[in-house]
Symmetry: C2
Subunit: 304 residues, 2 copies
């Protein structure tokens, strides 16, 4: 493909934070609305984004546990030729959390693809024998150096960028494993001179992070919580957003205030079930929209 034929595009396969919306065991206000007939809250699966430069070959960023359901719901990812086939030619992992890697187990049926991740995340995957089901002869592990461009083929270039983050939940209490836990990354995808930044987890809007976001034509950014203490307020958890590795939408340190000067299209993704901005007619949703942001939903198509 010639570079000037490339057109960067994405499909949001899943837009929710870990657990999805509704979460299997949750009766918070948002989850109850997501189960109701009126659908003031759209149901959402866990974060995964498919990206392509040619509309034929796709890189999946984030291996959501819901990947089987997501692939079946997405026309662009339907196999097209021969007996076994997939338009998915690569998968990129942004961190080693369960909601970011468990989907690899879905991709176990003898289809070749490349698995892109920084070494600490590949190590986190390798520590679990279940992932050995991905035959290394078919699924080539590509150790990505953060900050360096990687050619994903078919006109698409990937750069993984370190983000202020936290240790994955399941490693928190295991000192040895935690030492091996990597940070979290954003993925910058480029094609045809356009840039899409996917950053579902960001603990702090530092100057380098803000610059990285300003440099993109479209950002899919951490929309986990509306308020830093909303999980405590909702009663669903005792941790603040910051403790979990997420800046909030609102507040003086939040994305709405600190990212008001982004020049490109801005979309929140990785939205937690406690976040009232998920409710279509809520004041929080109106505040988000008024600030020029969109809320990602499953199936959302993005032309970057």
């Amino acid at each position: 493909m010639r570079e000037d034929d490339a057109r960067l595009r994405a499909v949001v396969l899943g837009s929710a934070a870990g657990g999805g919306v509704p979460q299997w065991n949750c009766r918070c206000r948002v989850c109850m609305l997501a189960r109701a007939a009126e659908q003031r809250v759209r149901p959402r699966t866990q974060v995964s984004v498919a990206v392509s430069a040619d509309g034929v070959h796709w890189l999946v960023v984030g291996a959501s546990p819901d990947l089987r359901q997501q692939i079946l719901a997405t026309g662009a990812l339907t196999p097209r030729a021969g007996l076994r086939h997939s338009p998915i030619t690569g998968v990129a992992l942004l961190n080693a959390d369960i909601d970011a890697i468990a989907g690899l187990l879905v991709l176990r049926e003898a289809s070749p693809f490349r698995l892109f991740a920084p070494p600490p995340i590949l190590d986190g995957v390798r520590a679990n024998p279940v992932f050995d089901v991905l035959d290394p002869d078919l699924v080539q592990r590509v150790a990505v150096t953060p900050g360096q461009e990687v050619d994903c083929g078919h006109g698409l270039t990937l750069t993984m960028l370190p983000m202020p983050g936290k240790v994955p939940l399941y490693l928190e209490d295991r000192a040895a494993a935690a030492a091996a836990a990597g940070p979290t990354y954003a993925a910058r995808l480029t094609a045809g001179g356009r840039r899409l930044l996917i950053a579902p987890a960001c603990a702090d809007l530092t100057q380098p992070v803000r610059q990285m976001l300003r440099d993109a034509d479209v950002v899919l950014f951490d929309g986990t919580l509306f308020e830093d203490d909303e999980m405590r307020t909702a009663g669903t958890g005792h941790k603040t957003g910051r403790r979990m590795g997420h800046v909030s939408m609102s507040g003086p340190d939040g994305a709405l205030a600190r990212l008001a000067d982004l020049p490109g299209r801005r979309i929140f993704i990785h939205i937690n079930n406690t976040n009232p901005a998920l409710i279509e007619d809520s004041p929080e949703r109106r505040a988000v929209v008024a600030a020029g942001w969109e809320i990602a939903y499953d199936g959302m198509e993005i032309d970057a």
Copy 2:
């Protein structure tokens, strides 16, 4: 609950073998029909069965990777009280294959339940740090001795029975891990004097297996393949059913011939995407129905 109030019932959450129907990367005849509008083949998720004696508390047998989607599709498993709740009070694991354990990762949001499995299967789970996300203070591991009854509470009794099986696929090539791999089991559930046997994998219809099946009022039995070499014929694999640990429906050693004398209700489950009995109007389906068998489907409700 008084024993004579108990009524044994089940909901088939998922009825397909590993990969589901359609499988994400497959264009075999059955998968193509499952994607078509006519729906001569119903789409199916991977095997999991919910069982209850009181209609209120449920044991999930088999932790399918599709468990989030399955719970959301099943009214009986919707949380009913407080902020966090689930009718799921237990999970039983029949083997350590990915399509039988990955769903545990779905159940990670701080809800208490009991995890029932024989020690080799608990060990297989424990070998993967990702499953440490199930806090042992909330998720009690119950080591089940095969052949011994376990009280699951709420009127339900579970017995795990060893079945002729095989080593899980992802452990096959790792000598050390393979040594730790357990066999596969059937689950016998009893309540109110009735017996349901769930046996999604059986490599050989030995005399003890046939007796175990005869003793049940309802059996959900291994329906992986119609013919032993059908994956080779379809071109989707090089292994026979027997090599994978599954007897076939047809043939002189198959279930239709060898289990013709079962006194109870007989239902095939764990059906592979190559199995032509999945096609509603196929000769193979007619042969199965003529022999007195049913084909399980997602959402099927069973009054045992």
